[in-house]
């Protein structure tokens, strides 16, 4: 077995038994990145020597105090998360040379756990996109079909995990950006409840929607990563002081009596690919075989979710991205003709078209005369979406649905039509609006060999429940054992 193909759980066993060293494992992963990443483009920055130094520290940690679940494990980090001393570009030319002077809280926690940061992964610029085509630097290709997108915005992280270019990764999810690329790349991706994981050091896109979460080769690997990063953080006033349970402990509990909600509105979604629907239906049957029962539920405001999201997210983004002005960090384009021209020139040169488009939409929606009609109205409909889920969870424990209407589309297929791209987020963005957790777990492949994911949504702070259902499903199927043809 090639070392990079190990899961976190398997690698941990070998490290703890001293059958392999952390340095060996990291070196093997770095060599694989050297050999394959030209074809995939998952990494903006591979950490090289720095990663080997971290691995040596991990070996010392293992010798001194024993091996904890993530000690010595090479992880990829979405380039939206601040890593001290390592360039953090957010996929944008405006931050091309930005070196954070601090670690994000999640990075601090991973380092304390002895994990090895093996590189920063590619993404849609400032997390705005569903295909990673909006990166200011490079394309990332889907390891299952390199003519296809890996999904986005955490496409680099998903592709890296799928191609065994790391053993696990962190991504971020504002409208589906962990779950959708996980689905397109046949890996597991979890968006925690809003406030479950600290956003300190996560470069903000939409502050009321953003969450950091794990992508991994198995559900139990994701449980281990979530365990390390979850929990209240005094540095993030939106992080919630709710106790973190032992996620691994309940994975094995059987599903007898589990009520799985099936939203009536989803099956008829325009553009829902027939193979996606049948894969998800087959997955639900597996859950039934495992002892669950299905319950028909209604999420009546589903048809408004995309509209609500594409007012709120750009509005919040327009505010969050105002800080990129060339003054204290990042790109500056100054031609000596004053401050405002410097701002304008810097931002036009530094931001790509999707980012500019969203800033303009957001600025418009928040401007005097339009605020109530757009942002105010969308915020009210958001309340109705929150209430839809509250009501649904009175009748069920988890909700099952597709992740994306189609499998991964071809590179370049949707770049010219932003609205079509936005509509493909229909199944994922409600969870961000309501703050509830969601997980994508592999449930099949299209006839063209492209991955399809099953999405499970849970009530606030029920990551343990989601992980348990996803784990039981995974263990009853073999989709997670397949590898891309590389």
């Amino acid at each position: 077995m090639k070392l990079p193909e190990l899961t976190i759980t398997e690698a941990h066993r070998l490290l703890a038994a001293k059958e392999i060293s952390a340095v060996e494992l990291t070196r093997a992963v770095l060599e694989r990145i050297d050999a394959l990443d030209d074809r995939i483009g998952a990494y903006i920055l591979a950490a090289g020597e720095d990663a080997l130094a971290q691995a040596a520290n991990a070996d010392a940690m293992i010798a001194a105090e024993g091996c904890r679940p993530l000690t010595g494990i090479p992880l990829g980090i979405k380039d939206l998360i601040c890593t001290r001393g390592l360039v953090t570009s957010c996929g944008s030319r405006i931050l091309k040379n930005f070196v954070p002077p601090y670690d994000a809280t999640v990075i601090g926690r991973l380092k304390q756990a002895g994990a090895v940061i093996c590189g920063k992964t590619n993404m849609d610029e400032f997390a705005m996109g569903s295909s990673t085509e909006n990166s200011g630097f490079q394309l990332t290709r889907n390891p299952w079909d390199t003519d296809c997108i890996p999904g986005g915005s955490s496409g680099g992280s998903a592709a890296a995990v799928a191609a065994d270019l790391c053993l696990g990764a962190l991504g971020s999810d504002t409208g589906g950006s962990i779950r959708q690329p996980a689905s397109h790349c046949s890996v597991v991706g979890l968006k925690p409840t809003y406030g479950r994981v600290s956003r300190y050091g996560l470069v903000a896109f939409a502050s009321s929607l953003d969450q950091i979460g794990p992508l991994g080769k198995s559900v139990s690997d994701c449980a281990l990563m979530l365990q390390a990063i979850a929990g209240h953080d005094a540095a993030d006033s939106t992080s919630v002081p709710v106790e973190v349970p032992d996620y691994a402990a309940v994975l094995g509990r059987e599903l007898k009596g589990l009520r799985v909600g099936i939203p009536g509105e989803y099956a008829g979604t325009e553009g829902l690919n027939a193979e996606v629907l049948s894969s998800v239906n087959a997955a639900v049957k597996v859950l039934i075989d495992l002892g669950a029962e299905t319950v028909d539920i209604s999420l009546p405001h589903t048809r408004y979710a995309v509209a609500v999201y594409y007012v709120i997210a750009p509005s919040e983004a327009s505010s969050n991205l105002a800080r990129y002005d060339g003054v204290k960090y990042g790109l500056r384009r100054d031609e000596g003709d004053g401050l405002i021209p410097m701002y304008r020139r810097t931002r036009s040169a530094g931001f790509g078209p999707e980012v500019q488009r969203r800033i303009i939409i957001g600025t418009y929606c928040l401007s005097a005369g339009y605020y109530d009609a757009y942002y105010g109205k969308a915020s009210q409909v958001r309340t109705l979406i929150v209430e839809d889920f509250k009501k649904a969870f009175e009748a069920c424990d988890v909700i099952a649905c597709p992740v994306a209407p189609t499998p991964a589309f071809r590179i370049g297929e949707k770049v010219d039509d932003p609205l079509t791209m936005y509509l493909s987020d229909i199944f994922t963005l409600s969870a961000n609006l309501a703050g509830i957790p969601g997980i994508s777990v592999p449930c099949g492949f299209s006839s063209a060999g492209l991955p399809i994911g099953l999405q499970l949504l849970g009530n606030h702070f029920d990551e343990a429940g989601l992980l348990r259902v996803a784990h039981q499903f995974e263990q009853a199927t073999d989709h997670h054992k397949k590898r891309p043809p590389l």
């Binding site: 500019q356 939409i361 401007s367 929150v386």
Partner: protein, 95 residues
Amino acid sequence: MKITRADVTYVAQLARIDLSDEAIEMFAGQIGDILDYVDLLKQVPTEGVAPTSHAISLTNAFREDVVSGPSDPDTSLANAPEREAGYFIVPKVIG
């Protein structure tokens, strides 16, 4: 919602972004389509519905007012596009 070139130019001015003529043209069309789509929200009755700006309601998330973290100028100025001694150099703002 028809978005004119003047609308885009005005909003770009607010957002401090320079746009080329082609960009203005393209954005006017695309953003017009998106705002047309968003008009769907007008159909939803929201009389008396409170807006949600934060999905998990927390109140008074305070911490003690205690200084922590690095505060040396070299750290803060490390990414400065232009610096001199302990200062960020910026374009002239006054006068």
